[in-house]
Assembly symmetry: C3
């Protein structure tokens, strides 16, 4: 009887028996509710084409930077893990899987191991712990499961109980996969695009002129002028709204906002196209455009989500060899209070405007995000994100924000994952941890048990539906 085979029913619930009993009841009432995933990175093509997955490594390892970055830290070359577009053949995929198995101890105590064990046992029936010895047998077992008809993406959506899933999409995307899904009456879940315009809002990029030229093509607007550029963005946002989008997502180095005079914005835009804008000017225009995004949101209704504070591509040699998203985005400090003042001064109380704030810098939870969400009707405290979407950090998040804003000014859980099969494990983890937190408040007599039950349910239904206008 292998120990990994046992996914303990009380995992992540509090150790104290009295509190655990309360948490158990709370969790029982929410564990089976449908999954709402309003922000993530599942390719819509998978669902539109119901593409079969090919092998364990390309399904579970190569796309998951949580996993491959730690293997890199252990000395495994990224190329051997299929990162950055390098296609692995069968032998390569097996070798990559062996690397993971050999270094499985590295992940002890981490959510990565917790999620993957949840998947291995719950989805794939791999009941032996990963190790050098079990590398081939576990690979075989997963490969066998993957090959089944019932392991196609659409079947998994159903099996995982995902009722709402947002993808992340380029503004120039034609959203044909989303259109196909919407037109398909046999497909039940709601799959929505998300407008992600970052690179089109960075006038300092060397490819900015090409990017906005392309934006002009797909929108039919003349992006040679600033006014046309703004119209093109408005056009594409509307296109996304028409294809079911409910939010736009933004991630820049900071969240400083400012408003330029129209003429100044226009002047910098023209200079940026000519490649003559200074870095300061480009940054100013980007900050101005973030306010423009808020302005457009008040018109087209898209919820705005901000994900700042990641220093992208920290290790230049790895970027050169493997491209972006190869595991070396590292968090930095962020500042919201001063940075967002211009944006919130203009739209913070505007009808229908909604702004969800995420962070990799947990110092702002209690200091900035919760206080902002406790005054501005538009602001919601986004769930713990990325490096922080893990048991200890989620506990710190609830501890940090609840004092100031309770539960109803938060966004609900966001998985933001590229690892499709981890979605149920991640949402389940969140439900367990929220049950544990609520149970502690009940045990402390800060909350009545019936209120805790209502909150637990709301956190996976009403709360994300409100924050994301579902």
């Amino acid at each position: 009887m292998s120990p990994t085979a046992q996914l303990h029913p009380d995992r992540l619930l509090p150790g104290d028996p009295g509190t655990r009993g309360i948490a158990r009841d709370l969790y029982a009432s929410v564990k089976g509710l449908p999954i709402i995933s309003p922000h993530g990175h599942v390719p819509p093509e998978w669902l539109a084409k119901d593409t079969p997955f090919t092998d364990p490594t390309s399904l579970l390892l190569s796309p998951d930077h949580y996993i491959f970055r730690m293997l890199h830290a252990a000395g495994v070359p990224l190329a051997e893990l299929g990162v950055g577009g390098a296609e692995l053949d069968e032998a390569g995929a097996r070798r990559a899987w062996e690397h993971l198995c050999r270094h499985w101890d590295l992940f002890l105590g981490t959510p990565v191991r917790y999620w993957l064990e949840d998947e291995l046992v719950g989805i794939f029936g791999v009941t032996e712990p990963l190790s050098e010895q079990t590398a081939q047998s576990s690979y075989d077992r997963i490969a066998e499961v993957i090959a089944g008809e019932d392991f196609r993406p659409r079947a998994l959506m159903d099996r995982f109980g995902i009722s709402v899933l947002a993808t992340t999409d380029d503004p120039c995307d034609d959203l044909s996969h989303h259109a196909a899904l919407a037109a398909d009456d046999s497909f039940g879940p709601r799959v929505m695009p998300t407008f992600r315009p970052d690179k089109y809002l960075e006038p300092g990029r060397s490819d900015f002129a090409d990017l906005v030229a392309r934006l002009g093509e797909v929108s039919g607007e003349d992006t040679a002028s600033y006014a046309g550029y703004v119209r093109a963005l408005e056009n594409r946002r509307r296109y996304f709204v028409e294809h079911g989008a409910v939010s736009s997502d933004h991630s820049h180095a900071d969240v400083v906002t400012l408003t330029l005079e129209e003429s100044e914005a226009s002047r910098i835009y023209t200079a940026a196209l000519a490649g003559t804008a200074t870095q300061e000017e480009s940054t100013a225009l980007r900050r101005h455009m973030l306010v423009e995004m808020a302005r457009m949101a008040t018109e087209d209704g898209l919820v705005m989500t901000l994900h700042p504070g990641s220093f992208r591509n920290h290790h230049q040699p790895t970027l050169d060899a493997h491209g972006p998203d190869s595991g070396h985005d590292i968090p930095i400090q962020v500042e919201f209070t001063r940075g967002l003042r211009e944006l919130l001064g203009r739209f913070g109380t505007a009808d229908g405007f909604q702004l969800v704030l995420f962070t990799l810098d947990e110092t702002v939870f209690s200091r900035e995000i919760a206080p902002l969400a406790g005054f501005y009707p538009s602001v919601f405290a986004g769930a713990p994100w990325w490096f922080l979407d893990a048991p200890e950090a989620i506990g710190r998040y609830r501890s940090a924000v609840t004092d100031t804003i309770g539960f109803y000014r938060t966004s609900g859980f966001i998985d933001d994952t590229r690892a499709f099969c981890s979605i149920p494990a991640r949402h389940d983890m969140s439900r367990r941890l929220d049950s544990a937190f609520l149970a502690r408040l009940v045990a402390d007599h800060r909350l009545r048990e019936e209120d805790a039950h209502r909150i637990a349910t709301d956190l996976v239904t009403r709360v994300p539906s409100t924050a994301f206008k579902l």
Copy 2:
């Protein structure tokens, strides 16, 4: 039998039964001790005139930014809550109360709900939970209690067990209410003014010339010159000391300190009066004046309290419509180590000088405040303040500072509240949480139970008396 009616006797004590038993004993030994409130915002006029309260809304809701800011976040216009001077008639007051009742779920899990339920049950006998259905009956019940003779401010001081209460006062205030209270032998508690000179130390304010002119009038000093300005401040501090003040309170955007040459200070002061000082000069003079306050403190003995790190009036449209203190002061980062070096270099070891450091940025608890208070005889770690005076944050505070400075270099609890009726609930919460923290140390065998008892008592007696020279 309504559930809110039950204020559980063990609320906020730890869930683990063994630790809870220790905490219960600790709490039992301090729950009845008199309340020392060395910093807060109760209007002295209430006590001097023993003014009856008029209605539930103006007593409990309109002055309490903790409450009305969350209602604003829920979409309720501030004007409908009586914020910013707008007087509400009886119908308006009832409507405001209804807003609170309708949105009562927003506050689940927050200290605001905890305090108000404590008040509703313990003071007003409102035993049904607030809701749209109970809005009128709860309003009526509170209004009835308020109307009683035994609900006048002085009776409440007695009932609440408040032995020491500091108010916060303008340097030009004549302190007549304090004088009246001091002269009244029938009034037992000690009510002290606090010297709060912020705006008189901000040469960059557009009304600076008017402010110091007024300072000149009340002090009899000629504030046309810098030397006269300094004498005027010294004069008013002495006036406060003569009227019982024990501390001065300071809140600016940062706590950077520096010393200007007398001639340079004088030059900037004159320029500020003429409206020609640059922003840099004004800031420099303000930073210099904070050191001057410390210098004066070494002469007149006032304890200096610093409350930095709030970005005041974040939302300009709300400021325009409702004035300051309308719920949108938002915390920012602060820095103490470098900022206070000049002040502490000059007065950090000066006889009798005492400096209590508060913060809205909890990152400085372990990094800066505790280390400073663990070396400088003058420095005390101020209690968790404002957004941080809540169960989770208070736990983090004790966790952050105790490793470095134990309990005797802290200030004791500060309620800093405008909500008079919440004072006992707030101090009771603090006593419960300190009992819980101490019980954990006892259960861990880090502290002997007898020592924990001594500390629990000291934290509400000797510790604030020492920090505030009572």
Copy 3:
């Protein structure tokens, strides 16, 4: 029966009985393992000469800034505590000890008291709590123990079970004590020097020219030129390696790194020797030299440890009177992500390069250090340091880093102490706290008990051996 006499066997283990049982088993399996201390400040001369200790104060109080800084905060003059070179006679040593005893309550709840009680009971058999009444008797008792042959440094090394001990040494030190120890077959433990070049890397120091002149002398290189200066450093590092060093230690105001052109480095170096380098230039050269240290590490194999974020000598009058290390180094914010980019871009994946990151600013644990250690094979998350090497902070550290990097990208415990007798108490504390943390993960079903046992052992064996190449 005195209460202090009881060092409770379960101290620091969790209060919940179920979790405590798990923690007890974990602790039992590691409590007796040898101590590896890869970074600290024990004078090698003590061991080489096996010098007898003279008195309780000079052994336990005067060298321990954790203790004397709190006594200073309580108003005791440093001169009366033997700080800063002031030799105390017998009467003075007794008076200093009395100060400690009189203020013993100040330390309630702090690790300083915990460690010292551990030493008093466990090493000295002082079974009465310290107090004014027991000051003389406890002093006498300790003095008696100290006088014994079995209390010589070498005997203590053996008694404490220290198998590896690193000292901290000046690059110009001849390491004769280390050589003597290495040559002495009767001495079992491994005692290693650590290369600590800080002051030789600060071109802005007024004594920089003298320092590098001395470096030239001992290395036989001509440090009049930048090239010679670099060779001299390489030479001394090799000398340290030959004498058993495994690491170099670095502590500057920040960890910003950059690479200067050779010619520019040379130009600034020459200017610095002439005293004409600007502060910006000096800082640039220091930041460049930190990268040079990394470059040399890839050649000579020394592990690089970074200890930034302390504002040294905060109180100028105390510095003037008592010299450095007199208790007023105060933490400041640090930044690693951007700062280390140049260094890690060049050497982050270099063969054999290892970099251990420490901090006094705990906000970087989850935000920067763990994410860096989870990608770069070279980076290890250093243990909680100095103000943070205490029960609450150690708990926060494990909570902050484990989600991202588990246990095997950390450094293991570092005592970094000048208080020789506290070494076993500190390591024992760390083992108890790690057992408590692991037990919590087991109780939560995040970790299997057998895995927790393996981790607990690894944390005091394989983990520090890996991080420090032992």
